[in-house]
Symmetry: C2
DNA sequence: CTGTAAAGTAAGTAATCACTTACAATACAA
DNA sequence: TTGTATTGTAAGTGATTACTTACTTTACAG
C-alpha cells in the first residue's frame, strides 16, 4: 500500500514562508518562481499543494489574520491588571504596529478585488475584525460605564480606520515611530473613553 | 523648419484617460498595451511622451490629486452659507466618496513603494493633503472657538484615516452607501467639533 | 514648394509570467 | 522484498510583459 499523505503538514510548514513573501513583495511581484525558491522547493510542488497562486495568496492572508487574532486572544486572556481588555488591546496594537506583515498583504489584496474569491476573503476578514472589536467595546462599555456619543459598532470601524492608516503611515514613513504611537494612542483612547 | 512640438498638450489630453485606466486596473494590470489602446495610440507614442511606465503612473497620481484639490478649492471658495469651510469639506467628501478614482490609484501606489520615486510621490501627496486639512482645521477653530482635546494636526490625520478607510469599505462593500455616509459624517463631525 | 522634425504605423525584442509535463527517487503497507 | 502512491528534479509551455526599432506620413517655417 502507498505512503500516507502529508500534504496538510507540508502546507502548514510552508505557509509562514509564503505569507512572508507576499507581505514583502505584494501579489504580482511574489512570482511563483520566487515563492518556490523561498520554500526551497520546485514550483510544481506548490501546485500539488494548492490549485493555483490565488489560492495560495488567500491561504497566506487567512494565516496572517488568524495568527494575529490568536496572539491578541492569548495576550488578553492573560489574567491581568485593572485595565479593560480593549484598553490593553489598543496598547498592544500601538506597540507592534506592522509587526507581522498582515497589512501589507491586505494592501496587496485590495489591488486584486476584481477577483471574486479574494474580495470575499477580504470581506470575511474585515467583518471578523470588526465583530471582535465591537464585542470588546460592548463589554468595556458595560463594565466601565463610560459613555461616548457614538455606538460601539461605529467606534470599532473607527479603530480599524486608525489602524489601517497607521500602517500606511508606517510604509510611507509619514511619521516616526514615536509620533505614530503618540497619535494612535491619543486618538484610540479618545474613541474608547469619549472626551 | 520643423513643426512646433505639442507634446505638452498631448500629455494633458491623455492624462485623464491614463488616470482612469490606472484607477480601474491598478499598476500591474494597467499594461502598456492596455494604456495605449485606451488612448487610441500605439505604445511607442506613450514612450515618446514619457520615459517609462512608472513616470506615467506618477503623473496620473499627481493629476488625480490635483484635480481633487482644485475641485475642493472651487467648491469652498463659493461664497456660501454660515457653515465653516471644514464642515462643508466634510459634507463634500461624504457626498462623493470614491467619486474620482484617486484612492484606487493610491492603493495601487501603496503596492509599489519599493520604487523610490513612487514612494516620494506618495509622501508628497499625503503631506500636502494633511497640510491643507490642518490649515482648514486651524481657521475653523479660531473662528468657531470650538475646542476639542486633540491638536489640529492630529485631527487632520484622523480625518485622512477615516477617508482612507471609507474607500476601502467602498471597494469591499463593507457598508452600503447610506451607512457609509452616516458613519463618516458622524465620526468626522465628532472630530471637528469635539463632543 | 521644400526641408525637417514631429506624429503615426507596424512589427519585433528579450525577459518573465503562471502553470505543466515527463520521469526518477522514495517511503511505506503488505 | 514488492507494488503503489507520494515526493522530488528538470525542463518546457504559450502567453504576456515593458520597451524598441525601422519606417512612412504629416504639418509647418522658410
Amino acid at each position: 500500500m502507498p505512503r500516507p499523505p502529508k500534504s496538510e503538514d507540508r502546507r502548514r510548514e510552508l505557509l509562514p514562508v509564503l505569507a512572508a513573501a507576499f507581505s514583502e513583495l505584494g501579489y504580482r511581484r511574489a512570482t511563483t518562481a520566487e515563492l518556490a525558491e523561498r520554500c526551497k522547493v520546485q514550483e510544481n510542488i506548490l501546485y500539488r499543494l494548492w490549485p493555483d497562486k490565488k489560492t495560495i495568496f488567500i491561504a497566506a492572508l487567512d494565516y496572517l489574520f488568524q495568527r494575529r487574532m490568536d496572539k491578541w486572544k492569548k495576550e488578553l486572556d492573560k489574567a491581568s491588571s485593572t485595565k479593560s481588555r480593549i484598553v490593553r488591546l489598543v496598547e498592544l496594537t500601538s506597540k507592534d504596529l506592522g509587526e507581522n506583515g498582515l497589512y501589507r498583504v491586505i494592501f496587496a489584496a485590495l489591488n486584486e478585488t476584481d477577483n471574486v474569491e479574494i474580495k470575499l476573503a477580504m470581506q470575511r476578514l474585515y467583518h471578523r475584525y470588526h465583530a471582535s472589536l465591537d464585542a470588546e467595546m460592548v463589554t468595556h462599555r458595560k463594565l466601565s460605564g463610560s459613555s461616548t456619543p457614538a455606538e460601539c459598532g461605529d467606534l470599532a470601524w473607527a479603530l480599524i480606520s486608525l489602524v489601517s492608516f497607521m500602517n500606511i503611515a508606517l510604509d510611507l514613513e509619514l511619521m516616526d515611530s514615536k509620533e505614530r504611537k503618540r497619535f494612535f494612542s491619543a486618538m484610540a483612547f479618545n474613541l474608547i473613553e469619549g472626551s
